[in-house]
């Protein structure tokens, strides 16, 4: 029982990332009808927002400390980050320590901006073109974004540590009545899961309980009629694109400490997120979230030693297998609506 629970917990962090990316993909697909192959790149850019902020905060100047010497006997050079010099070591140090959560503040405007530019500058011209063209142009964009990041940040993964207060693990098992040391779980993964839940709840709440969201939902159902009612639906859809980009970006920001960001992390996640969208049902937001968590947890179960000794390599291919089975038995996905992307 406790190992069962542990596997579910282990699947939550990846599942959260899948769910967030798939949610953004579905938002874009549901509103604009565009298949966005560059969505993984947005996730990756989000992660690099955290890297950039961390680099900015740790920009430092060098002073020579005459009182100490290094092992060669020369005066020791001490690097002091500017923020520590400006705000004092306590507050400045805390800023650096909390750079990943702080990067959320940076990522939101950056990602929304990128989303706007992408939609207005490129994707707008592809509404009337066939899906193949949309796939191809966003695929090209994904390569370009990825290469730009590679040019500036190099090809190696960059460590982005979580705040020291949230480092380490906690024993969840004792909290819910298991023996000690049975279910030990890293704190940051828990944080990531709750963060994802908050964002998902935020997006659903926004769509469900605001006038803006209501109009967007109406536009998803029948774009033309909403337009005829005198509502500028295109502008709202552009904003939704920005929000979808921000969701992917935020998923990336907080993912850094779990897996050091590198330039191709977006593509690695994109392929899986597409599978998640297809399993959940094209155009269905709850389906995307559900399938994201489901596949994340399934992947975690397939990674147990029992599973990998029974069927070697099952952890690598389980998601694709599930996708193939789902597509063949329930072509619309788990929660797909009728009439969305049908022949």
């Amino acid at each position: 029982m406790d190992s069962f629970l542990l596997q579910i917990l282990n699947g939550l962090d990846k599942g959260s990332a899948y769910a967030l990316i798939a949610l953004g993909l579905t938002l874009i697909f549901g509103t604009l009808g565009v298949v966005n192959f560059a969505h993984g790149a947005l996730f990756m850019i989000g992660a690099f927002c955290a890297v950039t902020l961390n680099k900015l905060l740790t920009l430092s100047f060098e002073t020579v400390d005459e009182t100490k010497t290094d092992f060669l006997g020369n005066p020791l050079k001490v690097e002091t980050p500017y923020v520590e010099a400006w705000f004092g070591p306590e507050f400045g140090g805390a800023l650096i320590d909390w750079s990943v959560p702080l990067a959320i503040l940076l990522a939101i405007p950056v990602m929304v901006g990128i989303g706007f530019v992408m939609e207005r500058g490129l994707i707008k011209h592809f509404y009337k073109r066939p899906h193949a063209d949309q796939i191809l142009v966003t695929f090209g964009l994904a390569i370009v974004l990825q290469e730009i990041i590679k040019y500036y940040f190099g090809a190696n993964p960059i460590q982005t540590p979580e705040p020291s207060a949230l480092r380490g693990s906690i024993d969840i098992g004792t909290m819910i009545g298991f023996e000690a040391n049975r279910i030990i779980y890293p704190i940051w993964r828990l944080v990531y899961f709750f963060f994802a839940m908050v964002i998902i709840a935020g997006v659903f709440g926004f769509l469900q309980f605001t006038t803006f969201g209501m109009v967007v939902r109406a536009g998803m159902a029948d774009r033309e009629t909403v337009g005829l009612l005198g509502i500028n639906i295109d502008r709202r859809f552009t904003i939704m694109f920005g929000i979808a980009a921000a969701v992917a970006g935020l998923a990336g920001v907080m993912y850094g400490p779990l897996n050091p960001p590198n330039y191709h992390m977006g593509m690695d996640f994109l392929v899986l997120s597409f599978v998640v969208v297809v399993v959940g049902g094209m155009g269905s937001l709850p389906g995307a979230v559900l399938a994201g968590f489901m596949l994340g947890i399934l992947e975690s179960f397939a990674s147990t030693t029992w599973a990998t000794t029974t069927i070697p390599g099952i952890n690598q291919i389980i998601i694709y297998l599930v996708a193939i089975i789902v597509l063949l038995t329930r072509p619309r996905g788990l929660m797909g609506r009728k009439g969305v992307m049908e022949e």
Binding site: H125, G140, L141, E147, M341
Partner: protein
């Protein structure tokens, strides 16, 4: 000639001459001149031109004719390579069985994948093929290389070792891929004045095979079967309503193009007896899509042009470094020179993929028909005053729309 009309015969002859004379055509600059870096006439690169030409021609049979956009074609290329290297390992270094095995294995593999993926169309098809290809990549990269059952040799890549059985190896034949004793690496270099031209056995093998499969693809384009595939692209639903089952046709197209990919993979292994999993990765699938689109999907010569174009510029751009750039802009004042070099630097050398991505976006946005359409547009500028041929009347001959079958 050969069952082709006049226009196609001319095209075939042009392609024949281009491939046969490639060692001359691709080496227009003397070997020790400053322009020699733009020469492309060395065996390795020429082999790549024709091999990826075959790959793209095959992909075009599926995408150009039926409109099904497969994002997993590299899987067949990889499977073909693995099959060929296994033939080398088990039987003999002769390339004939290896290439045959590559085609057959890739064909069988594509029957399997095609049977499942072709149940869906449009974006679902793309994602299904992508999922299959990524699955094959994961299998080849890690799963199938465990000590108990080592089929792919994982990260190192599959290669031929001295203790491999090679049961049919003929004594005295070269210890490298060969065609009945003629090593694929044997090269005859002809020096004419300052020029030097390489004639490589491997290249000519690939070139002959490419001509054959190119001829087959021309015949296929002009056949009733090809017409059927075009019908699927322009309106699959209507085709179904007329009582025709389109699935056997799409499956046949998928398998044929999978076999072309397998052939390309087999030839890659025959030129260099090594097969790695990265050949199956989705970036490799993306590359063949790129070649086809860039050249012109649905045209005969387009994919070959696209493959040559991308492989040539990949090679040239990767070679340009800061020193070369500085020597180019040396005529500018110092500040300007550094400025130009800084601007161009991200796009060359290791930044080649950035250029490729940008180029790809520009082509999709402005020139969806690729280089072939570009050429036609330029040609039309020059003969604007000629009367329109009746064939262009949209009422009677609706143009096939560039839709993915949805």
């Amino acid at each position: 000639m050969l069952g082709l009309n006049r226009k196609d015969t001319t095209l075939l002859i042009v392609v024949f001459l281009l491939t046969m004379l490639a060692p001359f055509l691709l080496n227009p600059f003397p070997a020790d001149s400053a322009m020699a870096q733009f020469n492309a006439g060395y065996p390795d690169l020429m082999q790549r031109f024709v091999i990826f030409g075959i790959f793209a021609v095959g992909f075009n049979i599926l995408f150009g004719l039926t409109g099904y956009l497969s994002f997993g074609h590299a899987a067949f290329l990889g499977v073909g390579s693995y099959a060929a290297v296994w033939m080398f390992k088990l039987f003999t270094f002769n390339v004939v069985p290896a290439i045959a095995a590559a085609v057959v294995v890739a064909g069988l593999f594509s029957v399997l994948i095609g049977y499942v993926s072709l149940r869906r169309s449009g974006i679902y098809f793309s994602i299904l093929t992508l999922a299959f290809a990524q699955m094959s990549f994961a299998l080849a990269y890690s799963v199938l290389s465990n000590p108990k059952f080592n089929l792919t040799n994982g990260e190192t890549g599959l290669q031929v070792y001295a203790d491999d059985p090679q049961i049919f190896a003929v004594a005295g034949s070269p210890n490298l891929p060969h065609l009945f004793g003629l090593s694929m690496r044997s090269t005859y270099t002809m020096d004419v004045g300052a020029w030097s031209f390489d004639f490589n056995a491997g290249y000519y093998l690939c070139a002959v095979i490419m001509l054959v499969v190119f001829y087959l693809s021309v015949r296929l384009f002009r056949s009733p079967f090809g017409m059927m595939l075009r019908a699927i692209k322009s309106n699959q639903q209507r085709l179904n309503y007329t009582g025709l089952n389109s699935r056997p046709y799409t499956l046949a197209a998928f398998v044929i193009s999978g076999m072309y990919a397998g052939l390309a993979g087999g030839l890659l292994a025959a030129m260099d007896p090594l097969a790695g999993a990265e050949r199956m990765q989705w970036t490799a699938s993306g590359e063949v899509v790129l070649m086809t689109i860039l050249g012109g999907a649905g045209t005969l010569i387009g994919p070959v042009l696209g493959a040559g174009f991308i492989k040539y510029f990949e090679n040239i751009f990767s070679k340009i470094n800061d020193n070369v750039l500085h020597s180019w802009f040396a005529f500018l004042p110092d500040g300007m020179e550094d400025f130009m070099v800084t601007i161009i630097h991200p796009f060359v050398g290791k930044g080649w993929h950035l250029t490729l991505g940008l180029l790809f976006m520009l082509v999709v946005i402005f020139l969806p028909g690729g280089l072939v359409e570009g050429g036609q547009r330029i040609a039309r500028l020059f003969k604007r005053n000629t009367t329109q041929t009746p064939g262009n009347d949209p009422e009677h001959h609706p143009k096939p729309s560039p839709h993915v079958a949805e």
